[in-house]
């Protein structure tokens, strides 16, 4: 395994791969700065361009982009009080007050330093878990992997707190969209309505561009918001930030560990990791409690965690082929486009690729953080551009990306149809990531289902681990509902008793 690690480093340090990695970092830097356009949109923009690339270069670009958006999304969080992506929501709590106090430079520099450290810790965790997880992953058969995919979908469904069914409907909609086209097992055309374009099914690039990128642009234009506030003072603060990071080194490691752990849970990562890390920071910090008023620890905790999360989220993605978020769902799509199948072979025949991902994460996080620190003043200028001036150029990029998928007019039509669906979902409050995850795992789910039924008939359902996973799924889906019902009954009963008294 150490041999693979060395080989992977050699491959990643190849100038060709480094060039693509830096391109991904550049795209991620810009995407992260624009509020609302997180790693998912970045992936959607890059995916169409990886067709025909060699796998390592393609992965370097995608992983580099995904890693850096978690760093550059700090700019709008600190400068404007608007999260650059879902992973930087908690940074606002203390980052924005620091900026208002004229300490934006200190907050940004500290955030970028701990982002790099957190990202490296996440990458090391990914490496460590590959060593441990190898025999466990290899022990799973198709029925267990099918149930794991279902488990991921049910966890994703529960992301919509208190509106579980909305998330599930979204995930099942994704599965339904994912089965359009030629059935892989028997070659039967499903739901193509005689269209040649639909024979190969929808492309993940077109789906994700339409679902995520277009609605965000529409909303940005509708609000015509400049990305950042001109009045913010950003100069200086690097030395003080270094001292802050050194003083809080234990916090950096602790929140990075939290980020990695939560990142490993399919569907849970993105939107909650920074809040959990922030909560842990507040609870475990000693001394003056100035959280919410501009405490640097409130920036350090979440920022270390959200970069570490990337390494954690790659564990189910690469080892089980189960995406943990919209971004990793698209990464799986990208791996498939590059001719790689996520799953067991990522720790057997393609182990060097997995190791290359580890190195890419390390390099992208360090390079990304250094770039952000060097470009603080220049980036501010980009962030002053009003949305209406950016939108036409982004629209051109989206159309270029969508059309490159199959170079068919159907791509453009599908892009706008999914754009409309994404906008309706956004306005209706229906979560979109579960749809994307459902779409991505549709092929995997069907393959495992087909193999399971072929090998075991329907008796695979009675396999012990399958039953355990089924119980876990049912508990996840209905445990909360049953608890709520009990609570409601208890309250009703106690209300009735008081009324009787």
């Amino acid at each position: 395994m150490l041999e693979s690690l060395g080989l992977a480093l050699e491959l990643v340090m190849n100038p060709v791969h480094l060039r693509w990695l830096l391109l991904g970092v550049g795209v991620g830097l810009i995407i992260g700065i624009i509020p609302g356009l997180g790693g998912t949109v970045g992936m959607a923009i890059l995916l169409p361009f990886i067709f025909g690339m060699d796998p390592l270069s393609g992965i370097a670009m995608l992983v580099g982009m995904a890693a850096i958006t978690q760093t550059s999304d700090t700019f709008p969080s600190v400068l404007l009080g608007v999260p650059g992506s879902s992973g930087s929501q908690a940074t606002i709590m203390d980052g924005y007050p620091l900026a208002q106090r004229g300490e934006a430079g200190r907050a940004l520099n500290a955030a970028f330093m701990v982002s790099a450290i957190g990202g490296v810790i996440g990458a090391i965790a990914l490496l460590g878990i590959i060593f441990i997880a190898r025999p466990i992953v290899l022990a799973f058969g198709p029925p267990e992997l099918f149930m794991f995919a279902m488990l991921a979908l049910s966890i994703v469904g529960t992301l919509t707190k208190g509106a579980l069914f909305l998330g599930l409907v979204s995930g099942i909609t994704g599965l339904a969209i994912g089965i359009v086209g030629l059935a892989p097992q028997v070659g039967e055309l499903r739901f193509t309505f005689g269209s040649l374009y639909l024979m190969d099914g929808f492309s993940i690039a077109v789906l994700s561009l339409g679902l995520f990128a277009l609605p965000e642009i529409v909303d940005l234009v509708a609000h015509n918001r400049a990305i950042a506030d001109t009045s913010v003072q950003v100069s200086g603060g690097r030395r003080e930030a270094m001292k802050d990071v050194w003083r809080n080194k234990a916090l950096v490691v602790r929140t990075a560990a939290i980020g990695t752990g939560i990142g490993m849970l399919p569907g849970v990562g993105g939107s909650v990791v920074d809040w959990i890390a922030y909560g842990a920071t507040v609870r475990t910090s000693r001394g003056d409690n100035t959280f919410g008023k501009g405490d640097i620890r409130g920036v350090i905790g979440p920022e270390s965690a959200n970069n570490a999360k990337e390494g954690g989220s790659l564990i189910p993605t690469l080892l089980f082929g189960i995406p943990g978020s919209g971004t990793t769902a698209m990464l799986i799509g990208g791996l498939i486009m590059l001719g790689l199948q996520p799953g067991q072979n990522m720790i057997t025949t393609n182990l060097h690729i997995t190791m290359a991902v580890v190195w890419t994460l390390v390099i992208a996080n360090v390079v990304g953080a250094l770039t952000c620190m060097l470009l603080i003043k220049r980036v501010i200028r980009i962030s002053l551009i009003p949305a209406r001036s950016l939108a036409p150029f982004l629209l051109v990029v989206f159309l270029v990306g969508a059309y490159q998928t199959t170079r068919n007019w159907g791509d453009i039509v599908a892009f706008f149809v999914f754009g409309l669906l994404g906008w309706v979902m956004k306005q209706a409050g229906v979560p979109r990531p579960p749809l994307l995850i459902g779409f991505v795992i549709a092929t995997t789910v069907e393959r495992y289902l087909h193999i399971s039924v072929g090998f075991y008939g329907w008796s695979w359902i009675t396999k012990p681990l399958v039953l355990v996973l089924l119980i876990v799924i049912l508990f996840i889906l209905f445990g909360g509902q049953i608890r709520n019902l009990r609570e409601a009954r208890r309250l009703q009963r106690s209300g009735g008793d008081r009324g009787a008294v």
Binding site: I172, A176, V186, Y403, M425
Partner: protein, 181 residues
């Protein structure tokens, strides 16, 4: 429009839109499940599972909402504010809603959609490169209110980049009806 009026409109619009979404996808799941039965061999399993589970979930949610609204006091309906952030209407503030569904918002959205539709029509007629130049020229001047010089520079740089992309990566653009003329 006062904040409370705006809030009420936003929430009811969100709930109405979500109900439409549910009805639409209930139909889709029913269709997938019924048509799925006719597929050969193992290709029918997943469509049937999607149909059955989808219909069950939508029905369960409808029952839960009906049961909840019968028990819950008026004004405490639950609403999903954004991507995964749920809040109770009673505690809702304007900032909790991902998008304010005001008339001004819809006017802006409508305006941008008209621009996009115009751009697509231009692509159909003129082909991608020429349509992009015309779209950028008019949008940057009329909507983004850029100056003449900046607009021309923006258009030239974008079209230039498209040409470089096309020659370097062999990327094709959609042809228009009049592209060959």
């Amino acid at each position: 429009m006062g904040p409370s009026r705006l809030l009420g409109d936003s929430v009811s619009f969100q709930i109405r839109l979500r109900n439409c979404y549910y009805v639409f996808f209930l139909g889709i799941f029913l269709y997938v499940g019924i048509v799925g039965r006719s597929f050969a061999g193992s290709s029918k399993y997943l469509p049937m599972i999607i149909g059955i589970v989808g219909v069950i979930i939508v029905t369960l949610d409808a029952v839960t909402i009906a049961y909840g609204s019968r028990r819950r006091p008026v004004g405490s309906e639950r609403v999903v504010a954004g991507e995964g952030d749920e809040v109770a209407v009673g505690a809702l503030t304007v900032s909790d809603i991902a998008t304010e569904h005001s008339a001004a918002y819809f006017r802006e959205v409508g305006g941008f959609v008209a621009w996009v539709a115009g751009y697509v029509a231009l692509i159909v007629l003129l082909g991608f490169t020429l349509a992009t130049a015309v779209f950028l020229l008019s949008y940057l001047r009329l909507s983004a209110k850029w100056g003449y010089f900046a607009t021309v520079v923006g258009v030239v740089v974008t079209v230039g980049l498209l040409a470089v992309l096309s020659s370097t990566f062999g990327i094709d653009w959609p042809d228009g009806v009049f592209s060959s003329l």
